[in-house]
Every structure is written in C-alpha cells, then in structure tokens.
C-alpha cells in the first residue's frame, strides 16, 4: 500500500462517513428514506 492508496481510502471513508451522518440525521428527524421527506411533516411534496 502506497501513500496515495491511503489518501484514496481516506477520501472514500470521508465520503461514506458524510453519507452515513446525513442518513443518521435524517433518521432522527423521522425520515425513513434519505432525500425524501415524504414520511415527515417537513415534506414539501406531501399532499
């Protein structure tokens, strides 16, 4: 493993961590499916 490998792994880990953080935050707001707020009262598409 070269240092560039560690940099790329670091980038992947950061991207995945950000995705997980976003999903966890959404989960706390009651959002079941990331991106769509359809199941919460915050939904802008709720009809």
């Amino acid at each position: 493993m070269s240092y560039i490998d560690f940099i790329v792994i670091g980038v992947i880990a950061a991207v995945v961590a950000l995705a997980i953080i976003k999903m966890v935050r959404n989960k706390r707001r009651g959002i079941k499916c990331s991106g769509c707020e359809g199941c919460t009262k915050d939904c802008t598409e709720r009809k």
């Binding site: 790329v8 995945v16 995705a19 959404n26 769509c36 707020e37 359809g38 009262k41």
Partner: protein
Amino acid sequence: MRIALTGNPNSGKTTLFNAITGKIEHVGNWAGVTVEMKEGKVKPSLNKSGLQMSVVDLPGAYSISPYTKEESVTRDYITNERPDVIVNIVDSTNLSRSIFFTTQLLELNIPVVIALNKSDLSTKKKTMIDTELLSRLLQCPVVSTISTVSSKNGLEKLVSEAARVSQTKDQEPPKINFSGTKGKKADVRRFEFVNEIVQMVEKREIDSAKQTRQDKADRIIASPWFGIPIFIGVIFVVFSISQAWVGPWLAGILGGWIDAFYGWVQGLMGSGVNPVVSALLLDGIIGGVGAVIGFLPLIMLLFFSLALLEDCGYMARVAVIMDRYFKKIGLSGRSIIPMVIGTGCAVPGIMASRTIKDERQRRTTAMLTPFMPCGAKLPIIALFAGIFFGGQGWIGTSMYFLGIVIIALGGLMIRKMNGDKSKSHFIIELPEYRIPSVKRALLSVMNRSKAFIIKAGTIILICNALVQLLQSFNWQFQVVAASAPEASILASIATPLAVVFIPLGFGLWQFAAAAVTGFIAKENVVGTLAVCFAITNFINVEELSLAGGAAGDVSVVFGIGAVAALSYLVFNLFTPPCFAAIGAMRSEIGSRKWFFGAIGFQLGMGYTLAFLVYQIGTLATTGELGGGFVGGLIAVVCIVGIVSYLMIRGGRKTVAKPAKLSI
C-alpha cells in the same frame, strides 16, 4: 401568537401559507393536497404589528364535524390547541359552500378573520361581493386576497387584521335561529342562514347555471368516450418528452460531465493506486452514483410535465375519468389521487390514501399505489427503454398504463377476497382550468431533484460501495480477478437467488443482486447493474453497442435479450416497493394480516407478470418457450391457486351474510 389557516379544500390555503411565510410547500390545483398541518413564521415584510406570529396550514375541511382523517386533523387542532386567531380562507368563487364552515368557526369563541381568496377569479367571472356587508353580517373582518400575486394581494392587511382581532377578542358569532332543531335539521337552518347572507352580499352577472367554455371542454376531456384516449395521449407525450425527445439529449450532456469527472479523478490518482481501492472509488462510488444521477434530467422533465398537468387542473379530471372504471372494482376516483401522487414518490402517495374514509378502500389503495411507476423506478424504465428499445416513449407510457391495469385487476381480486360488494360514491370539486404556473412546477421539480440527489449521495452511494466490495473479494477475502467475478462474495450470494429468476429470463447473478438491492431503494437497481457491469454511462447507448462487439448488440454486454429485459423491468416495477414505502404501507394499512397479504400479493403479481412477459414474448419472437418454463409454471400455478382460493372463500363469505340475517 398562532394563526390557523382553515377553509374548504382547494380554497388556496397552502398558496396563501406560502405567500405569508415565504415557504415553498407543495400546492396543487385540486382538493385534498394537504393532509397534515404545516407551520411557518409570518414574513417580516407583512408583519408590522411587532408580534411574534406563527402560521399553521391545516388540511381543508367542509365542516367542523370531520368526515375524513385529514378533516379530523383540522378539527382536533382548532378545538384542542385553540389558536389565537383563525384565518378562514373563503373561496370567493364559491361563497355559499365556503361560508357554512365559516359560521361554525365563528361559534368556537376564537377570533376569526375571513380571507376572501381568489378575488381576481371572482372579478373575472363578473361576481361582485360586498365585503363590508359580509363583514357586518358575520361580525368579523373580511379581507379580499389574491395569494398568487406578489403585490396588491391584501396579505399585509390580512396579517394586520389578524393581529388586531387577537388583541381585542370581542367577536360575537352571528345569531342563527336553531330553536327546536338539532342534527341534520340544524344543518338545514345553517344552510338557510348562509344562503340568505350570500343572496345579500353577492351579485353575479353571469348565471352559474349557464354552460361555460370550461364546462364544454370538460364534456370532451372527461367524457366516457374521449377521456381515456386523451389521457393515454397526454401521458405518451409526457413520457416521450422525458425519455425520447428532450430527456436523452439533456442526460447526454450531464453524462458527459460525469464521464469527465470520472476521467479527472482517474487521472488524478494515476496508475499507482491499488486496483481494488481504485475500483471502489471509480466504479463503485463515482460510476454507481453517476449512473443513477445520469437519469436526473429525464426525471426532472417528467416531474415538470406532471406538475404542469396537475396545476392546470387536468389531473382532477383524470380522477373523474377513472372513477367510472374504479367504482366497478370496489375503488373510487378518490383512489386515483394517491396513485397520481405516487408517480412522484410512493411514500406520500401511500400516505395520501388516508383521505379515503372507507377502510377497505383505504387499505386497498395503500396496497396498490406502489404499482404506479414512482420517481425511483423511472431510471430503471429509462435504462431498459434506452438500451433495449431505442429510447421509445411508448415503453414508459405502457408501464404507466400497465400499472393502472394491474391496480384495477388487483382491486378486483382484493374485493373478491374480502367478499365485499359495496358500491362507492365519489364527489370531487373540479377546479377551474388555468394556465399552469411554470414557477410552481419548477419549485416542485427542484424539491424532487434535491431529494433524488441526496438519495443518490447517501443510501445509493453506500449500497454501491458495498456491492463493489462484495464483488471484489471472495469468502477468503482474497481479491477476485476482474475476469472471474462469479467467484466473488456477491456472486455466491446472488447465484442461488438467480435460479428463481431463470423462468423469468434473467437468471444471472448480476440481475438477481440488482433486484435485491432494489428493495433498499429502487434506484439501486441501476447503480448495482452499473457496478456489476462496470458501466458508468447508461445514457450513451452507442458506447454500449460498441462494447457489444462487431454486432453492436447490447444483449452481448448484459447477457439478456430485449424480451428478458422487458420481463426484468416488469418484475422490478410490480414487486414490493422500497423499504421506506413498505414502512409507509404498514402504518397506513394498520393491520398485520393485510400488510403481509399485501407484500405476498405484490411479490406474486410481479413474479407472475414477469413470467408471462418472458415466456409469451419468447414464444412470439422465437417460436419456442423460454428456459425454466416448467419450474416457473409450477410457481405461477401455485400463486394463482392461492389467489383463486382466497377469492372463492371471499365469495362464500358474501353468500353467508344474508343467511345469517334471515335467521
């Protein structure tokens, strides 16, 4: 200070709410758009009182006595939470119907301000309303408003009147003579009182009994003969714009940018990076997510077109057109509204089924709504239509209408299983046709696109990274050679599942893996296929054809032909939806028996349809039956047998009822 916005359905509450708060809540040109309350703060530019003002947008209601679930939300909020002021939005084009609810609100001892909304439309119809007299008769302030325009809309006056009445609290309800009456008779008295008021304050130059141009248009658009062909034509044009005429061109541009980004990252890493790490970033994350994002322009165009159709008032006519057929299968036109909403996302579509009062209809609608192709399924349709069918608009159109046919068929089966022969009645207030607002449609598209991108950057990204890792290693955690991916963990998990799909024409582990990840989120089908076949750009079909060799045949790349591709498309569209939608189904259905029945029904429906498509299609194109016919036939006969047994049992239940009564 809390202001509650109340009024009849489609009186413009959410439009007024957006105008007062600056929010961008979804509005629609038909009744029943809002099913839950929303809260926001009054814009400082409108609030000159210095008071802290929050506004609550409530679902529409015709009366304080709730008829549907969402009307209960309004009643419960007003009676339990007791806001400081009620702003009652009255549709000035339909005064007599709106004021019935107003008189009930005035009796709650909460200050009321009337917003006489859509006053531009009533002027256009040459209907004059004496607001001062109306204010005197109802003993509350009346303000003319036009919430669709940004200036001279009466909103500042409305907010200041709300602030004023909240301080004074000296309102007295109008005196209605209810002596000796209660229940329905009291309602009749109230109607008489309302009609008297309307006669005094309203002057119409155009007789409402006279047929207008809109009525004439409806005689054609919503007619039993022309309604369906026009609907098919409209949806064909919508899908053609999205998936054949404009969408692929825009998607090609976006695909080029994604390819350029892929190349830039590849160049940045150089050739010295570990191939597994490199593939994880390039093929798993950028390739997988890029393949899904690549379809964004197609989805945006489709949502934009549907938003325009909804805003101009056409979709409300679709509910009327479909009601004729839906009532024959135990559903009603009310069921079509969640299904239309479900074309955006199945979750709010399923939740919209709560507007249906009848429990069986509501459960059936929640169960069948996921059969409509939602936004997440559109990339799958676009992928297979583009690759195997030259991007023809009829693929999307036929999937849309196949969804409706399956819903009708499913509704009929469920009705028979329940032994229910009750008839349904559907009344919808048809909104006026109007020129659709491009701004509103763009806002709706931006919201949905944002949701799509966030989803691609979170759950889709993680799934694709996981799929890439599972495809890169075997069970001994050794790196699998690129030429032998069937030795990978992913292949070993998906291969046994793929056996089940042989009778459906796609018994390959890659398709089985994609179908399974599709249950997490339907976009994953595209992402997983992109990772498994190492393809970043599904839009550029020419590139795929080149990969297929001299024959330029994409089936060489994917290992399946057009018939199997159609079968795979049908399977993914008509099997259970994603987990989020399944969760919504569970909460709306509210019965364990119905819920598991719904999942089983959807699985059986998807499998049977895909089997029929593949075997009949193969027979028609090659003259022979497809592989695994006998095994598939046994499975389908079992599914049909179970459904038939339940239907017969349901039929017996119906017969047994009168016998019990006669004893």
